[in-house]
């Protein structure tokens, strides 16, 4: 371990401009950023909702019917419609960022970003269709 550096008692104050807690309300792009970050709350909500559904199914048919009744309550329906919109926003922002995050090479040529982006959307469509088929029954 290196020795701890010595600090003077009279360290100059850092120059740090104070930023308002509401900095993200000033500009459209900042607001979009905060909405995108906030989408994670709806991801977490869906996990809770999924666990509720799984628990209801485990407890038998009556509980499953109760869960379906709960899901049609107006407040629950409103929450889930808002959550659905946020989940779509989350998916779109994530898939749009994918070409910048993933650098794929085939041999020595780099796969263009548009391919990677389109690949994500195609997979999204296929996976969604498959889940509709699974849940609704063949």
């Amino acid at each position: 371990m290196p020795e701890m550096p010595l600090y003077t008692d009279y360290h100059p104050r850092w120059l740090r401009r104070r930023v308002s807690t509401y900095w993200w309300l000033g500009k459209r792009s900042y607001f979009a950023f905060v909405l995108r970050e906030g989408s994670c709350m709806f991801v977490a909500w869906f996990v809770v909702y999924l666990l509720m559904l799984m628990r209801a199914v485990l407890q038998g048919e009556a509980r499953y019917q109760q869960f379906l009744a709960l899901s049609s309550r107006p407040w629950m329906l409103a929450l889930n419609i808002v959550s659905f919109l946020f989940l779509v926003y989350h998916a779109v922002t994530f898939f749009d960022a994918a070409p910048r995050a993933l650098v794929v090479h085939v041999g020595k040529t780099r796969v263009p970003g548009s391919f990677i982006g389109a690949g994500h959307y195609a997979a999204w469509l296929a996976v969604s269709a498959f889940m509709f088929w699974l849940v609704l029954g063949a």
């Binding site: 970050e37 989940l87 989350h90």
Partner: protein, 117 residues
């Protein structure tokens, strides 16, 4: 000695969770949260949903979805509180609650799916 930082692993879980939740969640929430309650589509019978949960492949996928999505949430929420709301003095409490919550939620999912076999 090189100190191992957990941050790269957490970012990896964050992106894996982001992709997985993006792929699976909108369709599932559309079905169970919007289309069935509004009567646009007929919800599956109890027997059908029960059989789906008992399928090992589906169970593993659902566990992965819960585990990765919760870590996605934990990481993003932690950084939003830190940078967005500038709550910097509570860093350790927030990190413990976020990742701790993700671990608890994953354990609940594992327990439920184990019971559903």
């Amino acid at each position: 000695m090189i100190k191992q930082h957990p941050e790269p692993l957490l970012w990896m879980l964050f992106s894996a969770g982001g992709v997985m939740s993006g792929m699976l969640m909108p369709a599932l929430l559309f079905l169970f949260g919007v289309a069935f309650p509004l009567g646009w589509l007929t919800p599956p019978t109890y027997e059908h949903v029960r059989a789906l949960l008992a399928n090992p492949l589906i169970a593993v996928t659902l566990f992965g979805l819960v585990f990765l999505s919760l870590f996605h949430w934990a990481h993003r929420f932690r950084h939003t509180l830190y940078d967005g709301l500038q709550i910097k003095h509570l860093e350790e409490v927030i990190a413990t609650l976020c990742y701790g919550g993700a671990i608890v939620g994953s354990a609940v999912a594992a327990y439920l799916l184990w019971q559903a076999r």
